[in-house]
């Protein structure tokens, strides 16, 4: 499901529960994300893409719940593990796939790749290759929103590991003292590459860090799309009401390795299995009382959309080397 049409519908939606139709659309987006990333992995294995990529398989509910609670006027600052948020924001799978394959038709004309997909026209200010790189920028977007006096908010997405960078602390403090409309969305997938959260900080909840800066902090089950939706919705309402930023921690888990070169020596198969048993897609499908056939056919629809995206990307031209110097300066 893409973002709601405007702030009003989004606010109204939170008063009532999400409708079955909305949840059904959300489930479809989660499936689309999963199939996109599985396909990305295939293409990489076939040697059709180079570089590396960071898959968010297992974390789909966080992306879809969060974007679902925002409007088309809001801003997104995304992470390196950003395919899911990008699709949840309503981006086109074909233009993303073309970017992923380095094609001229891609969102960034093949210059950015998996780690840097942006869609500036849709206020998606891009994924970021630098851990915590989006946080200071979110402060500036917040200032800009206030200066322009609009009803927008900015959501910046980052990982548990990012919350150990100085940029996290500096940015939240600034957003707090200036009461900016920023939603700090921390995807706690329990690891920063090989570093488990327990070893990288002496607190139980990352959201506890909010208290140090005098802002609201909440922790939610990141595999529960409705819980994420609700938390982001509330944060948005607070932000537009001038009540300042919120730090939301979504507990979730990545099923795949950190990137393409990860042997995963730092965790056990059992641990991965435990989380797979809490799969966000299975869970939502279960809540919706879907039969296996219904589920399969929805997955099939997602697969078809991804297949079309790949066809588009493969048929697209490579960037022309003659244009290599373009785009450095405005």
């Amino acid at each position: 499901m893409a973002k709601s049409k405007n702030a009003q519908t989004s606010q109204a939606a939170a008063k009532r529960k999400l409708s079955e139709k909305q949840l059904h659309d959300m489930l479809y987006t989660m499936m689309l994300i999963r199939r996109f990333e599985e396909k990305a992995l295939d293409l990489y294995s076939l040697g059709k893409v180079h570089g590396t990529m960071h898959l968010s398989i297992g974390q789909e509910a966080t992306a879809v719940g969060a974007s679902g609670a925002l409007t088309q006027q809001d801003y997104l600052l995304n992470t390196h593990r950003g395919h899911g948020h990008c699709l949840a924001w309503g981006s086109q799978a074909d233009l993303m796939m073309a970017e992923f394959m380095g094609k001229e038709t891609g969102y960034c004309r093949g210059r950015g790749g998996s780690m840097h997909i942006a869609n500036v026209d849709a206020n998606n200010l891009g994924a970021n290759g630098i851990v915590a790189g989006g946080l200071p920028i979110s402060v500036g977007v917040g200032l800009s929103i206030r200066a322009r006096n609009t009803e927008q908010v900015v959501m910046v997405v980052f990982g548990d590991g990012a919350s150990n960078e100085g940029a996290f602390h500096e940015s939240i403090n600034m957003a707090s003292i200036w009461n900016l409309p920023v939603i700090f969305l921390c995807e706690n997938n329990q690891y920063a590459m090989s570093m488990p959260v327990e070893k990288s900080m002496n607190i139980d909840r990352i959201s506890d860090r909010a208290a140090a800066y005098g802002i609201e902090g909440v922790t939610v089950d990141g595999n529960d799309v409705e819980a994420v939706y609700e938390a982001v919705h509330n944060a948005r309402q607070r932000a537009v009401a001038g009540k300042g930023p919120t730090l939301i921690e979504c507990n979730t888990y990545r099923y795949m390795g950190h990137s393409k070169s990860d042997r995963q020596a730092y965790r056990t198969r059992d641990e991965v299995k435990t989380w797979m048993d809490k799969d966000p897609i299975e869970r939502l499908a279960g809540n919706l009382g879907m039969s296996k056939d219904d589920k399969d056919s929805l997955f099939k629809k997602a697969e078809a959309e991804i297949e079309k995206a790949v066809e588009f990307a493969e048929a697209s031209p490579e960037p022309d080397v003659a244009d290599i110097m373009e785009g450095v300066y405005a």
């Binding site: 094609k103 210059r111 630098i130 150990n164 960078e165 990288s200 730092y266 490579e318 960037p319 080397v321």
Partner: protein
């Protein structure tokens, strides 16, 4: 098979690991600190197995906090330890710049020479892996511009081991720039510990028609270019500074006096790159009187590294570019 003196073929990554291991065995003060260097073995596998061998007290995994990694090295070095920090990609050194440039490089001088900061910061630079603009930087010249820092850039497994052991024994902060594409390159390396003095260049290949001064991966590409050119009867001499700062330029200048022509090659972008320093050193020296052609630079284009494979390839000098440029210089096309 090891030869009589214990020299065998190992890769660059193995050479770096061997230098770290032998330095830690020889000196208890040496320890490693960085992101994912423990059980994971480092993003490029440099410290694979070292956590098991030396334990978590000497192979320290950190949170993602580059400023504090660099600062921790400074503090430990100031108080009697010999830290070797790893910055996972050279790009992320930008987050540790203050501690490196304003602390590590300056405290000795500011304290009237009464403090020493014997630390090494290792980091892989360079493009060619499809990692795009924020994971492919070549920033070495930022550091050569800071008095108090030494900057080392090994181009072979042999140099990597000897220079790293020397860097760890050095009393100053040293930035040790590895290259991602060199990690898998093999070459002869003695088993026993040895050092290569920081500051000494290496004549990688002798030749009489043209001096090519190259750094890091470009030394490997220049060697390949030399083979092509030799088929045409063109013999290039390849000089590798190995240490960018301090750099004893005497060998390079002698070489240019001999050949009368010079081409400087590096991967970092051309504008204000290390090549500007090398060219200046040549034209400021007695070699000026022997020059038969303009001194030329071949360097990365003045753009961030693009993601697309083809664009990425064309963003930095390749073997064929070195061949073409050398040919022109030797033929007098400039």
């Amino acid at each position: 098979m090891p030869s009589a003196n214990g020299t065998r073929e190992i890769t660059y990554v193995e050479a770096v690991r061997e230098a770290l291991t032998q330095s830690m065995q020889a000196d208890e003060r040496v320890f490693l600190i960085g992101e994912d260097i423990g059980v994971y073995g480092g993003a490029f596998g440099v410290s694979a197995g070292m956590h098991a061998q030396f334990g978590g007290e000497r192979v320290i995994d950190t949170p993602i906090s580059e400023a504090a990694i660099v600062g921790a090295c400074v503090g430990a070095a100031l108080t009697g330890m010999r830290p070797v920090g790893e910055i996972q990609f050279m790009d992320f050194i930008t987050l540790g710049m203050e501690q490196l440039v304003l602390q590590a490089a300056k405290v000795r001088f500011m304290f009237g020479g009464k403090a020493t900061v014997p630390m090494v910061l290792r980091t892989p630079g360079g493009s060619g892996t499809g990692a795009a603009a924020q994971h492919s930087e070549s920033l070495e010249t930022w550091f050569t511009h800071v008095p108090g820092l030494k900057v080392v850039m090994p181009s072979s497994p042999y140099d990597a081991k000897g220079l790293l052991m020397a860097a760890i024994q050095d009393e100053n902060p040293v930035i040790f720039v590895e290259h991602k594409l060199l990690y898998k390159v093999s070459g002869p390396v003695p088993e026993e510990p040895y050092t290569i003095p920081l500051g000494e260049p290496n004549i990688v290949r002798e030749g009489k028609h043209l001096t090519v001064v190259a750094t890091s991966i470009m030394v490997q590409r220049a060697k390949q270019a030399a083979e092509e050119l030799a088929k045409e009867g063109v013999e290039i001499e390849i000089v590798d500074p190995r240490t960018l700062n301090p750099f004893d330029d005497a060998l390079m200048i002698q070489s240019v006096v001999k050949t009368g022509k010079a081409l400087v090659v590096h991967e970092a972008v051309k504008t204000s790159g290390y090549g500007a320093e090398l060219v200046s050193r040549i034209v400021e020296s007695e070699a000026f009187d022997y020059l038969e052609a303009p001194v030329r630079r071949l360097a990365g284009l003045d753009i961030p590294i693009p993601y697309n494979r083809n664009l990425e390839y064309h963003a930095v000098p390749q073997v064929e570019n070195i061949v073409a440029e050398a040919r022109k210089l030797v033929r007098g096309d400039y």
